[in-house]
């Protein structure tokens, strides 16, 4: 009978210890989450941040490409206009053609070719190398010799 009592008591101790352990771990995990250190949630936040950063970089690259393309197209168009002006005045009287032709270009660049996003211009380096303060001493001219003989 005492053995049975002892076993029952031991079983109760194990059961209550398990419940207490569960509560303690639950409280610790809740505190970790409330303090913003939950590993899963912070991993999600990091992932979202990385995705946002990646999307921003992609948009920036797309805008830069579009800008380069538009610039090239504009240069090409200007070249064409230049060539066309010379072609119309075959007499070689010079100039860029008639004023009408100058004021009304043949083809406009498409509107969508204009980049929506202006890529930031590369910043000028803030750091400037200090100018060397040290100046080498100039060689002094030797004093003219004075004759001591009079």
């Amino acid at each position: 009978m005492p053995d049975r009592n002892r076993m029952s008591r031991r079983t109760h101790v194990v059961a209550w210890s398990t419940i207490a352990l569960f509560v303690v771990v639950l409280v610790l995990l809740s505190a970790q989450m409330a303090s913003g250190h939950d590993p899963a949630l912070s991993a999600n936040a990091k992932r979202a941040k990385a995705l946002r950063r990646q999307a921003y970089a992609q948009a920036q690259a797309r805008a830069a490409r579009a800008q380069v393309q538009a610039q090239a197209q504009a240069e090409q168009q200007a070249q064409q206009e230049y060539d066309q002006g010379y072609g119309d005045n075959g007499s070689g009287s010079g100039g860029y053609g008639s004023p009408d032709q100058q004021s009304q270009p043949q083809d406009q660049a498409p509107q969508d070719a204009q980049p929506q996003y202006q890529a930031p211009q590369p910043a000028q380096p803030q750091y400037q190398a200090p100018q060397p303060q040290y100046q080498a001493p100039q060689p002094q001219q030797p004093a003219p010799l004075q004759s001591t003989t009079s």
């Binding site: 771990v25 995990l29 409330a34 590993p39």
Partner: protein, 232 residues
């Protein structure tokens, strides 16, 4: 990122129950290995450890059930009955979750087989029960692969504190040989040889039916109640 723990109550409960289940299973495995290694040398110590081993194992099984069932309430994971009951069907890290489900089934079956050891046979049950270690190893893999807190230093310390004693005791068990921890088998009762048996049977006289002793005259029989005046 700060979050309200009340919004993630089921998830937190499942994580807590998983950690408690891991600790309980570790305790049960350690106690089982201690008994198998015959480490408590004192007489009767093994008999005292056995109910503790059993109680901790049952507590671990309950924690394991809570770990799985509370996941059903999680609004983000939504594993469903199939996700928690059938291995490799969960969409969240299916490999490691499946390993965990297999480990859970293994621990439950191998632990509860204790109550069917009469039907199984003690020797065979002991052989089967050894595979609890394999289920424990699968549980550790599950914690490392699918555990939310697996990257946290504190859980790594807990895992280390769990794996190291089990590893040491298992190595001791492997190095000590198969029959060391077992109680010595009782010496077989030697039957006398056939001629001796015959001679013994002849030497012993057959039992004689003795007459039952009668109670002496005047003695009161025990089965008769006295009258009101005290006579029998």
């Amino acid at each position: 990122m700060r979050a309200d723990p009340l919004h993630y109550g089921w998830w937190l409960a499942s994580r807590s129950a998983g950690i408690v289940a891991l600790l309980c299973v570790t305790g049960a495995v350690v106690l089982g290995l201690i008994m198998a290694n015959n480490l408590p040398r004192r007489a009767g110590a093994k008999a005292r450890l056995r109910p503790l081993h059993e109680a901790i194992a049952i507590a671990g099984l309950v924690a394991l059930a809570v770990h799985g069932l509370t996941l059903l309430g999680d609004r983000w994971l939504r594993p469903g009955i199939i996700g928690i009951a059938i291995p490799f069907q969960s969409h969240y890290r299916p490999l490691y979750t499946g390993i965990g489900i297999i480990a859970g089934y293994g621990i439950a079956l191998l632990g509860l087989s204790f109550y069917a050891r009469r039907e199984i046979g003690a020797q065979r049950w002991r052989q089967i029960h050894r595979f609890t270690l394999a289920a424990y190893a699968l549980a550790i893999v599950h914690v490392l692969g699918a555990g939310t807190d697996a990257g946290q230093r504190w859980l790594q310390v807990v895992l280390l504190a769990s794996v190291v004693p089990v590893g040491i005791l298992f190595a001791m068990r492997m190095l000590s040989g198969p029959g060391v921890g077992r109680a010595p088998a009782p010496a077989p009762r030697r039957r006398p040889a056939a001629p001796a048996r015959v001679a013994a049977a002849r030497s012993v006289p057959p039992p004689v039916a003795r007459p039952r002793p009668r109670p002496p005259a005047g003695a009161r029989p025990l089965w008769v109640h006295p009258d009101e005046d005290g006579r029998y």
